[in-house]
Amino acid sequence: MATDRYLTVSALTRYIKRKLEMDKHLKEIWLKAEISNFNHHSRGHMYFTLKDDRSRIQAVMFSGNNRTIKFKPENGMNVLVKGEVSIYEPQGQYQLYVQTMEPDGIGALYLAFEQLKEKLHREGLFDPLQKKAIPSYPSHIGVVTSPTGAAIQDILTTIKRRYPLVKVSIFPVLVQGEKAASSVVAAIEKANQLNLFDVLIVGRGGGSIEELWCFNEEAVARAIAKSKIPIISAVGHETDYTISDFVADVRAATPTGAAELAVPSQTELINRVNTLTRSLHMVVKGTVLEQTRRLSQVNKSYAFRYPEQLLRQKEQDLDKSVEKLGRIMTYFLNQKKEGLRQIRIRFGQQHPQRQIDQAKQHLQLLYQRNDRAMRKEWIDKQTSFNQVLDKLTLLNPLETMKRGYAIATEKNGQIIKSTKQTQPGDLIMVRLQDGTLDCQVWGIEEGEEI
């Protein structure tokens, strides 16, 4: 229930809208204002702000209305508009719904200016590539301006001061008013016909936009563009440009500036010549000096000044090689010698004398053994022989005869053991100790047997 007292925002907005729509004044408003925040929407509607020094209002001009306007609204443009004020509900914003729009008075000239500028620009008359160079040292200058007034005097004074070498011819023209444009065009054409000038200065002193207007005329612009002579434009103030300024080959802010651009300064020229001459001298002298230094550098080079150096290295190399050769060869020989010496030591240790001596000793021993063994053998045999001989001697059966026994034998050697073996008259042998007796038996005496 308590909420019944509260409105919705939409309700409030709608209420305000109704209130505004009931006001007849707001239904048909005429405004003089400047455009800003201009936005030509892609769907054709124009949205912008209209303002004066203190206030602003949002405005919209629907495509159905803006299709008929003869200029292109732009920011900063002063315009006269007719429309009604209403509310744009979604944002709760009041705005002016514009129905017609015209440029304001001064805004019309500006517009014409901009539009011509745009046109000529598109034609290429401002093309920097088309611009002719201003000669550095002109000998004859044409000045298209009013023969009276400060401008011509400024120009002449400046030229005289800077470059008295140049000739100046003046084309007196009207620089304001209806006939101004044709007068300027004619002068430019005449100057071109005369074909005497290195450069033209075209212009006048400053003034209001209306006073300067002839320099915004298309005819003047085209005459300037057509001119074979390079043209310096010198119109108005430093801040304002005219169409002529854009078309001219060079734009000077003031007539004095134009004169300065048209001619060099004699002082500067003298300085320039001096500078060039000095540079010439310095550069050439520098070249000579540099080359001298370069040569000197080369001459100073070690290899060049002390050519013996080239040899010294080689001499040292050679010495080294020779020395090395000698050293290596000596070393080589010594190694061979050492090898030989070593083997000789070993060889010396193998001297056969020792072998010989050993053999000798061995031989002597064998010799001695041989001799000894033989002698022993012989002595042994001798001894055993002696023993046997002794025994034999002892067993000698004839030994008893030494005591006087005798052995009688028959002539045939038969031992006579019995008397009966003999008869007297027999010849018998009787062996004694030291010989045998030849005997004859004389008688026999028989005895007792022993």
Partner: protein
């Protein structure tokens, strides 16, 4: 030769002489000029310098002229501003 050269130089305008001098100095400043050429340039440059110098100092009092509608010249007297 000197005469020849002088004559030829005499035909040069101040502008041409200056330009030639500048070109010579430029070339020399660019470096890389062979020594023998450099001395030739030097000689040429010195001559041009003299020429320019003479032309600059020899000021002729030029008069301003008015070109009238017929395209003829009349001496110009500065009119006081109206």
């Amino acid at each position: 030769m000197t005469n020849d050269h002088d004559d030829k130089s005499a035909e040069l305008s101040f502008e041409e002489a200056m330009q030639q001098l500048e070109k010579i100095v430029e070339k020399l400043e660019e470096g890389d000029v062979p020594l023998e050429k450099a001395i030739n340039y030097y000689q040429e440059g010195m001559k041009l310098s003299k020429l320019c110098s003479e032309k600059l100092t020899k000021v002729e009092g030029q008069m301003e002229q008015i070109v009238n509608e017929q395209g003829t010249f009349e001496p110009f007297i500065v009119q006081e501003e109206e």
